[in-house]
């Protein structure tokens, strides 16, 4: 084994120029591969972060309450009972909260937007308040300062609201200003005035569509009783266990006599139509996991992955072509050497291994080079904190500054993949070389 590696290394060293040229090509592709993986991974991560901060738990116990055959409302009638069942069924939970879900028009003297209205219990929302930050004034005001205004604690007071920087900018609101929220329910419209007590930095793109207020505000707007809520959100240690936990909950709720809707991986607001058309009254539970609630943006990662897959696939073909060619040259060059080795008793498998190891070694060296270079570039980009101004790119990358997250798993998978590809490319020339008859090889070499 060691001998083979030694020989392989010697060969690479001997053909210095060729090795360097090939390494550079493989390294470029490795860098690119790492980069594409990182972009895709950071977009998914931002998605999880945005979703679990703004609109979803790892598992959501939502539901629809039909007080009329032709309508549907995203309401759970008995929050305490639902929470109890969740606690019992998922004892390993990290936290459980519940929020009200409303939708309305938010009007300031300058402008208006439509947004989801999340009614929260301040005391339960440590997770939310830990992941949002107060925005420096410049994020929502032209020529604003770096100072932050407002205080999350003030969200305890009645009729207060938390806006995100993008919303504050559009509505021209500052901390202390008052805005009006109008909601529509089957022909009625209700209105409430809320005081802005905090303006937080945007969380990706989707924070444009959400604002946060006290639970009681939403109850008043929709004239709902205190036992009702919109959704119970369950947080686990990681997103991995979400699907399994959802299935456990499905069983638990069925056992408790609730009707549970079939799993439909869509956000709740895309189900109104369907539920309105169904023939029942009262409560049904709808269980979703975090990704279901943002399914309308999941195509972005799918598209990114598809493009990366295609690009890398084509590049792999090209690399394999290049390496095969180079190996072929190497075999031709060393025909005599191979003949000698075979003549003094080297097995065919030894020859094959020699060439394949040589290629793998080359691939490994090159991809290490590529990964190091790629990581440096990514680190450089991250350290610059480049703000994204185009809304399209914001939506696409799910972030407000260019920031790519790099993980060991990406580095290692790049190294493994490229060593594998180069090894694969060397197989054919290697078998060709091993197939040479010693005598012929010796003669050909001269």
């Amino acid at each position: 084994m060691l001998t083979i590696l030694n020989i392989a290394f010697r060969n690479l060293f001997q053909a210095k120029k060729r090795t360097i040229l090939l390494s550079v090509a493989v390294a470029i592709v490795a860098t690119l591969f790492l980069f594409l993986r990182t972009v895709s991974a950071s977009v998914s991560e931002r998605m999880v972060e945005s979703a679990t901060t703004l609109s979803a738990g790892h598992v959501n116990i939502g539901g629809f309450f039909k007080t009329r055959k032709k309508s549907s409302a995203p309401i759970l009638a008995d929050r305490n009972k639902v929470r109890e069942i969740v606690q019992k069924a998922i004892p390993e939970y990290v936290s459980i909260i519940d929020r009200h879900r409303g939708w309305g028009r938010v009007i300031s003297s300058a402008s208006s937007i439509n947004a989801g209205i999340n009614g929260i219990n301040f005391d339960e929302e440590q997770r939310f308040f830990a992941s949002v930050r107060l925005a420096p004034e410049r994020e929502y005001k032209k020529n604003g300062s770096d100072q932050t205004f407002g205080n999350f604690e003030d969200m305890r007071k009645p009729n207060t609201v938390l806006l995100f920087a993008g919303q504050a900018k559009k509505l021209e609101m500052r901390v202390g200003d008052t805005l009006t929220v109008v909601t529509e329910t089957s022909g009625r419209s209700n209105t409430v005035d809320l005081q802005v007590v905090a303006i937080a930095s945007d969380v990706g793109f989707m924070s444009n569509w959400n604002l946060f207020t006290q639970r009681q505000t939403v109850l008043d707007l929709y004239q709902l009783g205190p036992e009702s809520t919109g959704v119970v959100m369950l947080y686990l240690k990681s997103t991995k266990g979400a699907t399994e936990a959802m299935e456990r909950l499905r069983k638990a709720f069925k056992e408790e006599g609730f009707s549970v809707m079939d799993h439909d991986p869509k956000p709740f607001f895309m189900k109104f139509d369907k539920v309105s058309g169904e023939d029942w009254l009262g409560q049904k539970i709808d269980l979703t996991i975090w990704s279901d609630e943002i399914s309308f943006v999941l195509w972005i990662t799918a598209a990114l992955d598809l493009v990366s897959f295609f690009v890398i696939g084509v590049l792999a073909v090209i690399i394999i072509g290049g390496i095969m060619n180079a190996m072929w040259m190497s075999v031709r060059e060393r025909t005599k050497e191979i003949g000698t080795m075979r003549a003094i008793g080297a097995k065919k498998s030894f020859i094959v291994q020699m060439f394949v190891y040589e290629a793998i070694m080359l691939g490994l060296m090159a991809s290490v080079l590529g990964v190091v270079f790629g990581s440096l570039v990514i680190a450089l980009i991250n350290s610059l904190h480049i703000p994204i101004t185009s809304e399209g790119i914001r939506l696409f990358l799910m972030a407000n500054t260019v920031n790519f997250s790099l993980h060991w798993s990406q580095v290692i998978s790049t190294l493994v993949l490229f060593s594998f590809i180069t090894g694969l490319a060397a197989l054919y020339p290697a078998f060709k070389a091993a197939g040479l008859r010693p005598v012929e090889a010796l003669m050909q070499g001269k």
Binding site: G187, D273, E278, I393
Partner: protein, 701 residues
């Protein structure tokens, strides 16, 4: 100088060498061929996509240029921006001076005023329809009919009772429920419905004013609309076509509903589910069994029988039941009650699988769909739009639906089909710009309204319950729960359904599309217009279609960038590898070169030889690659590339993309590939030429 003789010799040696090292030749030739194949196909498709997107955007609503006020707080985004709700793009308070100036430019062919906004669709109340039917029956005097209508009314009252008990579980204020239940009880009491006749106006009034509101309005739908001068619009936007009903007649108020909006939001759910399954199983070729989305839709379909039941009368129900029986569906357990039996039969009918779906789909559209109101809105009907005016007032306007339209080529695309079209005068009304006539009415209304005061819950009814006949404006933001609110119910001003044609040639618009005679001069014309308007003191922004398309345009840019990036990277790496192969090939032949030099070959001969070898390989390989690409494009041009989803359909400007053959690209790309390959082999060739004969011959000995 290299003589002709020498060129001949170089060529001969080059061909010999290529043959001698044929494997290397084939590998490099294939790589170069692959490179030029990719370049031709990739760039060709990219140009096709860009071209079709351009056509989609320009030909649907954007025009070549868009003009809007510089006072705008948001950027104009015709296909939606980052926020939900309306963007503030300022206004052009009178289009006349803008149009006059713009039309003076020799490259401008049209100026189309526009305005976009969003409103809530008043969806009416089921009980009202039932009451109308009851009134009609009473009037006809047909005792059987009356009986069945009264029965229907009892059923509705039962429903209301059930609904009230469900509401009790949710609402904070239970006294309201008590009150409602008392009203229902009154209507259900013996002697109320059983002796009903056409002369019992007070009873009917009670049902209409106290009972009907309890059944509530359906969940509101948001409708986006574009107000424009329909004549100009039709003339200048070739993608626009009316698919059902008629176009807006000039000078008439009205609305054209988008085909996509109607299919998505206004179609009865059972038909929508049939459509979805049909699309995915038929065109998509995905079986129901084993596909999560199809299975879910099939599951949902099975629960949608009530919409069918509630839309048939007794006679139709009997017929339908018989037809289903003929189809072999007898609903499992037998039931004497017609409705229960039909429900069972429908449940059976609606449980579809891969075997029966195609047949059930056809059967549904042939036998059941004609009995139902498939769409909530159809041409000929009048709908009520409710919009918030700029100042926060709620404005309601009845509009006649004249037709259904779509933009040719991308009927199914979400991004393009969200906007409905209304006339400019109605747009101004909903926007909050008063015509002189309505201004007068408003003053009258206010003077009457000021004296009456009602409690909040009635105010809501007053505001919305009758909105289909009333045009009213009241300060909604003040309509808080406990605040006294005015009641404009008694006034029913009749707004004329038509307007004088010159009303749309002047007055307000939010933005305007400009069509050009020569689209290739788009940038220079844009600058000229900006200049002219600025000089005359009009503060406007003039932007091109790409910028005006908002987030869609940005997305298109991102897609283009990503694809260009991908093609560029692939091309670059291909070149590096090709170059590698050439250099490695050269290094291997140092001995041979030494020999050649030793027997008297000039440096220029060696360089020429290497360049010729690469050139020949490159030309043959890349021409073959381009040839293959042409064949592929030719095939695709006849078959078309199907769009896998709606986003792509918008990019393709239709369900399929038919690539065009671009001869410049097909001939140019291989030449460039060959040239680059040849140039990149200069390094290798010079390296080889500098080899000292003696040294070269010693190497590797």
């Amino acid at each position: 100088m290299i003589s002709l003789e020498m060129v001949k010799l170089i060529m001969q040696v080059a061909f010999r060498n290529l043959w001698l090292y044929r494997i290397k030749t084939i590998v490099i030739g294939t790589l170069l061929g692959f490179g030029s194949f990719l370049a031709v196909v990739g760039l060709s498709l990219l140009q096709d996509v860009q071209g079709s997107m351009r056509e989609s955007i320009i030909g649907s609503i954007a025009g070549h240029l868009q003009i809007y006020s510089d006072k705008a707080k948001d950027d104009l985004a015709l296909f939606g921006g980052g926020f939900m709700g309306r963007a503030d793009i300022g206004e052009l308070s009178d289009i006349v001076p803008y149009r006059d100036l713009v039309m003076q430019n020799s490259n401008v062919s049209a100026f189309v005023p526009m305005g976009m906004d969003m409103s809530i669709l008043g969806r009416g109340n089921e009980m009202d329809d039932k009451l109308d039917a009851l009134r009609a029956a009473l009037k006809s005097g047909d005792s059987d009919l009356i009986k069945s209508r009264v029965e229907q009314m009892r059923f509705q009252l039962d429903q209301l009772k059930l609904e009230a008990s469900e509401q009790r579980k949710l609402v904070a204020d239970k006294t309201e429920i008590d009150k409602n239940e008392a009203q229902i009880a009154k209507a259900e009491a013996p002697g109320f419905l059983d002796s009903l006749s056409i002369h019992d106006e007070s009873k009917l009034q009670f049902l209409e004013t106290k009972i009907a509101p309890l059944s509530g309005e359906k969940t509101p739908i948001y409708l986006a609309y574009l107000g424009t001068d329909i004549e100009l619009f039709t003339k200048n936007f070739p993608k626009f076509k009316v698919v059902e009903g008629e176009s807006l007649p000039p000078g008439q108020r009205g609305i054209l509903i988008s085909h996509k909006v109607r299919e998505d939001q206004l179609k009865v759910v059972v038909a929508k589910l049939f459509d979805r399954l049909h699309k995915r199983t038929g065109k998509g070729g995905v079986a129901i069994k084993g596909d999560a989305e199809n299975e879910r839709n099939a599951g949902d379909l099975g629960r949608q029988f009530s919409a069918i039941i509630s839309s048939v009368n007794r006679q139709q129900a009997t017929d339908l039941s018989q037809k289903l029986k003929d189809l072999g569906l007898d609903g499992g357990e037998k039931s004497d009650d017609l409705i229960t039996h039909l429900t069972n039969q429908l449940k059976e009918f609606l449980s579809v699988d891969d075997q029966n779906f195609a047949q059930r789909y056809d059967w549904f559209y042939k036998n059941i769909a004609p009995l139902m109101k498939l769409y909530e809105i159809s041409p000929g009907e009048t709908i009520a739009l409710r919009a918030y005016t700029r100042s926060g007032y709620i404005k309601s306007l009845p509009l006649k639906v004249y037709g259904v339209f779509s933009f040719a080529g991308f009927e199914d695309s979400d991004l393009s089909g969200q906007t409905n079209i209304i006339d400019l005068v109605s747009f101004r009304e909903l926007y909050g710009k008063m015509t002189e006539a309505s201004q007068q009415e408003l003053t009258d209304m206010r003077s009457q309204v000021g004296v009456k005061q009602v409690d909040a819950s009635n105010a809501e009814d007053a505001l919305f319950g009758e909105s289909s006949q009333t045009e009213l404006e009241t300060r909604s933001l003040e309509a808080k729960k406990d605040a006294p609110v005015s009641q404009p119910l008694s006034i029913k001003p009749s707004i004329p359904s038509n307007f004088s044609l010159d009303e749309i040639t002047r007055g307000l618009a939010l933005n305007a599309a400009v069509k050009l005679k020569d689209p290739s001069k788009i940038e220079s014309t844009r600058k000229e217009l900006e200049q002219t308007l600025k000089e005359k003191g009009f503060e406007v922004r003039v932007i091109d279609w790409k910028q005006a398309s908002g987030i869609v345009g940005q997305f298109a840019n991102i897609v283009t960038l990503v694809l260009l990036f991908a093609i560029g990277v692939i091309f670059l790496v291909a070149l590096v590898i090709i170059n590698n192969s050439i250099i490695i090939g050269t290094l291997n032949r140092i001995r041979e070169i030494g020999t050649m030099r030793a027997i008297g070959a000039q440096k220029s001969f060696v360089v020429g030889l290497f360049l010729a070898e690469t050139g020949i390989t490159g030309l043959i390989g890349s021409l073959a690659g381009a040839g293959l690409a042409t064949v592929l494009l030719l095939v695709l041009a006849t078959v078309g590339i199907p769009a896998p989803n709606d986003v792509v359909a918008f990019l393709f400007s239709g369900p399929r993309l038919y690539p065009a053959l671009r001869w410049g690209l097909i001939i140019g790309a291989p030449l460039i590939v060959t040239l680059i390959a040849t140039i990149s082999s200069i390094y290798a060739a010079r390296h080889a030429a500098h080899v000292q004969p003696a040294e070269a011959m010693q190497e590797k000995e």
